[in-house]
């Protein structure tokens, strides 16, 4: 493809430069799952759709992208407006994103006193509860963005996906390093990280997060081009490895009497079983990524029957909220104990 700058470039033209902190201009082809297409009038093919659609002429593709950009929801437009704050003007979107993104720093904040005071007792007892659970929360909130774009048609919060992904990486790496230094298994740092299968799963997640963390910025998007999207599909591998990490850690059962997972301190071992929490949240996140489901949603939205989509999604979303409540509950209680450096072991 020839451009005015690089007539013989091997790569497609670079996307417009975006400020660090998330592209203001939505780049649908550069994200692992394009959720925005559900609001287009014409259907978008699923990623693995077989029949080859004849490639439209370049001018039509460009106008389709322009149409998508023009067809912004009213909320997106409202969010883009400024308001007076103090002595300057600030976009409503900026304030909302700061508020919605603030929870991502909570797990690291809660562990900070133990790290700064090198309180190995607190770190060894509660780092997996605080940082591990925190990383899981950040992962789910990161994965939640695309389904919410699918359902609402709004895009103003899309930048949260990268933010939560980055914070998930830092939190998970913190958990992994702390486990490597303080766990009671034998054979040093790597022995502690890889000596047990569930920790090996965690170690693999850490390794896969490193390239995602390094390339989670507009510069890397430009440099990697179409390969950036493929690389960042690794988040799904990490999502799957988390399942194995939890099933090996917790098992598939729950506490009965005084044995099993879930800690029945409040009489709800099933709700506190981490694998069950993961499954409850993942069902919603996975369902809204299935291409046939996205097609159905797009069809109902184009018919103007968005209410039917919400009614159908409601039980799955309720299950997601159920799971999240108990994950957040654990993060708060274990996190406060970690912050006060009085960790409570299960």
């Amino acid at each position: 493809m020839a451009t005015t700058r690089e007539p013989y470039s091997r790569y497609p033209p670079a996307p417009p430069a975006a400020p660090y902190g998330g592209p203001d201009i939505y780049q649908p082809d550069l994200y692992p799952d394009d959720a925005a297409g559900t609001w287009d009038e014409e259907e978008q093919p699923a990623d693995d759709y077989e029949p080859q659609r004849p490639q439209p002429p370049r001018r039509a593709a460009k106008s389709r992208v322009e149409e998508r950009r023009a067809d912004r929801s009213r909320v997106d437009e409202w969010m883009d407006k400024d308001f007076k704050f103090g002595g300057s003007r600030i976009k409503r979107k900026a304030v909302a994103l700061i508020l919605l993104g603030a929870p991502a720093v909570v797990p690291l904040f809660l562990m900070a006193p133990a790290f700064f005071t090198t309180n190995f007792n607190t770190v060894s007892v509660s780092v997996d509860d605080t940082l591990g659970t925190g990383a899981e929360l950040c992962l789910f909130l990161c994965l939640l963005v695309s389904p919410m774009v699918t359902l609402t048609g709004q895009r103003w919060f899309f930048g949260l996906r990268r933010w939560y992904g980055i914070m998930m990486a830092f939190t998970a790496l913190g958990d992994g390093f702390a486990a490597g230094f303080t766990d009671t298994f034998a054979n040093g740092f790597f022995g502690r990280l890889g000596g047990h299968v569930f920790e090996l799963m965690g170690f693999m997640m850490m390794m896969l997060l490193v390239p995602l963390l390094i390339t989670g910025n507009p510069w890397a998007q430009r440099k990697l081009g179409r390969y950036w999207k493929t690389l960042h599909r690794l988040i799904y591998v990490i999502w799957g490895l988390l399942f194995f990490h939890l099933i090996l850690l917790e098992g598939a059962g729950f506490e009965r009497g005084s044995n099993g997972s879930g800690f029945a301190g409040d009489g709800d071992p099933i709700f506190h079983q981490r694998l069950y929490q993961y499954s409850a949240c993942s069902l919603f996140l996975l369902t809204l990524r299935l291409p046939p489901v996205k097609r159905w949603i797009a069809a109902r939205q184009s018919e103007g029957r968005n209410w039917l989509v919400w009614v159908t999604i409601a039980p799955i979303f309720a299950l997601f909220i159920f799971g999240m409540i108990f994950i957040v509950n654990e993060e708060i209680f274990k996190g406060i104990d970690s912050f006060r450096e009085t960790p409570a072991a299960e």
Binding site: P51, G267, P291, V293, K294
Partner: protein
């Protein structure tokens, strides 16, 4: 040709959308069943919690989440630590009174005065163990402080009776207070004859105290229940 492609694509798209709809409905029904099951399970939380606390040997009505629990053995030990010394002292005071009631008014009244002090000290110690808002607040503060310093044992001063034990303890305190008042009045006697005239009433009051003490002992040592 492109119209044929578009038509084929549109039909395949409709099929995909229908499949998506069925899939979504099935998953939504499954999720709905799980949510309802979860809510039903949540309704039994209280009973499961009490059973879990009992399984740990803790007194359910004294359990505070996040803090070391008060076991029945702790309550028994604390109760016996209050009552046994008081009983021994009262036995000694009663023996001293019996030895002097026939011949030595001052010594008999001194024994009775000591008995009153023992009975009032017993009342105060039992009252400090009853399940009242003030006592529970003090217990919570003491337990929290101990837990914050890494002490996983419940401080003795933070151990209280359960609400059921408190009912019996209050009856014992009242009976003991009535006995203490009678004993104090007896100690103000001006003659040995007047002193001895209180004996039948004092014995009746003492029997009432012993009955209540026996009931409290049974309440404290009764097997733990979830209710």
């Amino acid at each position: 040709m492109s119209a044929m492609y578009d038509e084929t694509y549109a039909e395949d798209g409709d099929v995909q959308a229908r499949i998506g709809g069925f899939l979504l409905m099935a998953i939504a029904i499954l999720a709905g069943i799980l949510v309802i099951a979860g809510l039903i399970y949540a309704m039994g939380t209280g009973a499961r919690h009490r059973a879990a606390v009992l399984a740990g040997g803790c007194e359910p009505s004294l359990f505070i989440s996040g803090l070391p629990c008060t076991t029945q053995q702790m309550v028994i030990s604390q109760y016996e630590g209050i009552v046994n010394p008081a009983i021994r002292q009262l036995t000694a005071d009663t023996a001293a009174y019996r030895a002097n009631e026939g011949r030595h008014l001052v010594a008999a009244e001194a024994a009775l005065t000591a008995e009153v002090a023992t009975e009032q000290a017993l009342d105060n110690s039992l009252a400090a163990m009853t399940f009242t808002p003030q006592n529970r607040a003090r217990a919570l503060a003491l337990n929290t402080n101990a837990s914050a310093t890494g002490n996983q044992n419940v401080p003795p001063a933070a151990i209280t009776f359960t609400p059921q034990m408190t009912v019996v303890a209050d009856a014992l305190i009242q009976a003991n207070q009535a006995l203490a008042n009678l004993t104090a009045e007896q100690a103000r006697s001006s003659s040995l004859t007047e002193l001895r005239s209180f004996n039948p009433r004092a014995e009746a009051a003492g029997a009432a105290v012993q009955t209540e003490m026996k009931l409290l002992h049974e309440a404290v040592t009764a097997p733990l229940t979830a209710g």
